[in-house]
């Protein structure tokens, strides 16, 4: 038919935000398609999750009571079976890290096209998906020439649905082939601990790949000292081992909301922005006027950090 099936996400007993965002994009799309929105919940405390996700715009919630945590083999099988049962036109999945781990497998198994990391979706004649390229410097539209398709949806791009609704809740008896489950989650580990908690700081000076070499870091440390700020960074700085993991801002690091976030030589990749877009005042120093961080900044200096930072230290003294 013309329905939408969206698969929700949870971790360690809690629904993840992207689940109620999928309700928003899913119900918009279902309306455009003249169909209904179905939600799939796989594993965990499915009844509690279903209650929490009884939101406006959801027609039916299908619960698959199998396992506690995400396992890509189980999710792939359960999603494919739900898809077969509901027969939707569009399958929506989260473009989260776990989404990266099963969305392509589901699409491949169902032999339907997959468009990843959507930031807008519409259906007119056919399905059209907007996505970014070249480190968010450009947007593209992708047309899907197929009856049915899967789309993975960028987290935090749509507002979550909060209004309550009254969907039917049905238990779906997925037939999981345990022999085909060839991966086992053995635990979780929290990294990025330590003495500094950048999420507590009210003034963060954050450094990115624009710093070029580890030997240039003392320049930034001088600025940090002159301002009594806290030092944080984008991912490559941590990947290179120049700063410890607990300094990393972003999707896989920390989410920060300081009064001032000063981004120096950081392009503003989506996974970085996920960690700092809630800052009160964002200032960017970058040689590239087209860097995506410029779209987010309240104040910007388009210039070489090696000129601006020494001048800034001087101006502060």
């Amino acid at each position: 038919m013309s329905d939408v099936l969206a698969i929700t996400e949870h971790r360690q007993g809690e629904l993840r935000d992207v689940s109620s965002e999928l309700v928003t994009v899913g119900s918009e799309l279902a309306a455009q398609q003249g169909g209904e929105l179905h939600l799939g919940i796989i594993g965990g405390d499915v009844d509690a999750f279903a209650e929490e996700l009884s939101l406006e715009g959801v027609e039916t919630i299908h619960t698959v009571d199998h396992g506690d945590e995400f396992n890509h083999d189980v999710y792939t099988q359960a999603t494919a079976q739900l898809f077969g049962d509901i027969d939707p036109t569009t399958l929506l999945l989260p473009n989260s890290v776990n989404g990266l781990d099963y969305a392509p497998a589901v699409a491949s198994e169902l032999d339907i096209p997959l468009v990843t990391d959507a930031i807008a979706i519409s259906r007119d004649d056919g399905l059209e998906v907007t996505r970014e390229m070249y480190g968010s410097k450009v947007e593209t539209t992708v047309a899907v020439d197929a009856e049915v398709a899967a789309v993975s949806v960028r987290p935090a791009e749509w507002e979550p649905t909060e209004a309550a609704g009254d969907p039917a809740i049905e238990s779906f008896d997925a037939d999981i082939d345990e022999d085909a489950v060839k991966s086992t989650v053995t635990g979780f580990e929290e990294v990025a601990g330590g003495d500094v908690d950048i999420s507590e700081a009210n003034f963060l000076i954050s450094i990115g790949r624009g710093i070029e070499e580890e030997d240039n870091l003392p320049l930034i440390e001088d600025l940090v000292e002159a301002t009594d700020a806290t030092l944080s960074s984008s991912r490559p700085i941590v990947d290179n081992g120049w700063l410890p993991k607990n300094r990393q801002v972003g999707q896989s690091g920390k989410v920060v909301t300081p009064d001032v976030y000063l981004a120096i030589g950081i392009s503003g990749a989506v996974q970085h922005v996920a960690g700092m877009k809630g800052s009160d005042t964002i200032v960017a120093i970058n040689t590239d006027p087209n860097a995506p961080i410029m779209d987010l900044a309240d104040y910007a200096i388009v210039d070489d950090l090696f000129d601006v930072v020494p001048a800034l230290i001087e101006a502060l003294e």
Binding site: P113, E128, S183, D303
Partner: protein
């Protein structure tokens, strides 16, 4: 043991660029080894150095230009490289993950690797899907966004950490053969040594065309097509400080004082 590493030559846009039709005008693109694949190569080469009898083969779908990038992999310790290309690729509207996985699966068929390492994503089109699509296509197990890998080839298990959001890692045991998509930071990629660069010149780099892989032009058809590319409308209303570094720095200093995050 044989490890196949998928390696993409990615395009990076210069600061100022123009869009010509459906892509950035090639004059404003620079080509380089995909950042994530650099870590995948390093991981494979480290496994080779730690073990006996491990061969590392790289595969790239790309035009002749990509050979420079492929040689970089060879210089860093890849033993042998395969480049897949055919005139037919030049006409393909969109080389999406499923199409790439179909092509790569033909290479897997030929090479019979025990382990395939890909990057989490390509820096240019960032589908983040080729590795897992390939795994499903060739019926290998898989793991995505791997930032630690401990291989027990004897037991046929890869114990990995998958980097989730918010500083949480998932510990997972994955049965071999498997495809792992490698995250940056998993290791410290080496620089190619002069000796490595010299040796790379004489290492095998074979071209496979569609025919050689038992594929046809129709295998490259995709239901997906790019219909537009444009610069996003700036949502920002940033106040841009103008002037010399001294001038902009002075303005920034007074902003920081006004907001109250620095004293004075």
């Amino acid at each position: 043991m044989k490890i196949l590493v998928t390696v993409k030559e990615v395009a990076e846009a210069e600061d100022d660029f123009d869009i010509d039709g459906l892509d950035i005008d090639e004059r404003y693109l620079e080509f380089d080894l995909n950042e994530w694949d650099e870590y995948a190569i390093e991981e494979a080469v480290q496994i080779k150095e730690d073990g006996d009898d491990v061969e590392v083969v790289s595969v790239t779908i790309g035009p002749e230009r990509a050979e420079e990038t492929i040689r970089m992999g060879l210089a860093k310790g890849v033993d042998r490289a395969i480049r897949v290309w055919d005139d037919a690729f030049a006409d393909v509207g969109m080389l999406d993950p499923k199409t790439k996985a179909d092509v790569l699966s033909a290479v897997v068929e030929d090479e019979q690797p025990d382990l395939v390492l890909t990057g989490v994503q390509a820096g240019d089109d960032s589908f983040g899907a080729t590795g897992v699509t390939l795994a499903e296509t060739i019926d290998f197990e898989w793991g995505a966004v791997v930032n630690a890998l401990d291989l027990d080839a004897g037991a046929g298990v890869a114990s990995v950490h998958r980097e989730l959001e918010g500083g949480i890692e998932e510990l997972t045991d994955i049965e071999l053969p498997a495809v792992l998509t490698i995250q940056t930071g998993i290791n410290e990629p080496r620089y190619a040594s002069l000796r490595g660069i010299r040796q790379a010149q004489s290492k095998p780099l074979d071209l496979h065309e569609l025919d050689d892989l038992g594929l046809e032009e129709s295998d490259l058809e995709s239901p997906l097509s790019r219909t537009a590319m444009y610069e996003p409308e700036s949502e920002g209303d940033a106040t841009v400080f103008e002037g010399s570094a001294e001038e902009t720095a002075t303005e920034l200093a007074s902003l920081l004082r006004d907001v109250g995050v620095v004293e004075g």
